[in-house]
Symmetry: C2
Amino acid sequence: MTLNPKFDAQGLIPAIVQDADTGQVLMLAWMNATSLELTRQTGETHFWSRSRQELWHKGATSGNVQHVVELALDCDGDTLLVKVHPAGPACHTGAVSCFFNQVL
Amino acid sequence: MTLNPKFDAQGLIPAIVQDADTGQVLMLAWMNATSLELTRQTGETHFWSRSRQELWHKGATSGNVQHVVELALDCDGDTLLVKVHPAGPACHTGAVSCFFNQVL
């Protein structure tokens, strides 16, 4: 099928990153068209950093790259689900997943 | 701990909904402060529909409510992960998950 993601007004689409083996949701980050293309070409996740306003190859400095196993678009085409094999923790805090603040 | 989510310029925060038992990521939707409060009070997911511009109690018409098991905020407080027991399919197409368009 044709990949036809809907980018928002900022040219971005949210990407949920999930561990392909454990099923744990690791993080949510944003992709623009370029980072999505880089992700597909290299097989490693690339995002758009909204805070730094730059392309971001996950793990480029930390070594904790994420190898893409599967990439899926949701029913209305405005969210990506990226299943990965992570080389290390997803979170900059060193946690496996960014979702460690349980609130309920 | 204190729940202190960061809402975006539109007053919204993305909420990843995951099946608490299977680990399958079901959908991504958006919450505003009111829908988050309703979710916490009722134990069933409530969102803000960006297309309809209204509060949306998931399953109110279909019966496919989502019972909240766990609610977590990510490291920088701008994304929610909601683990649920779904009463039925998450997707309006009847699919269990909205992420059925595999693109890689």
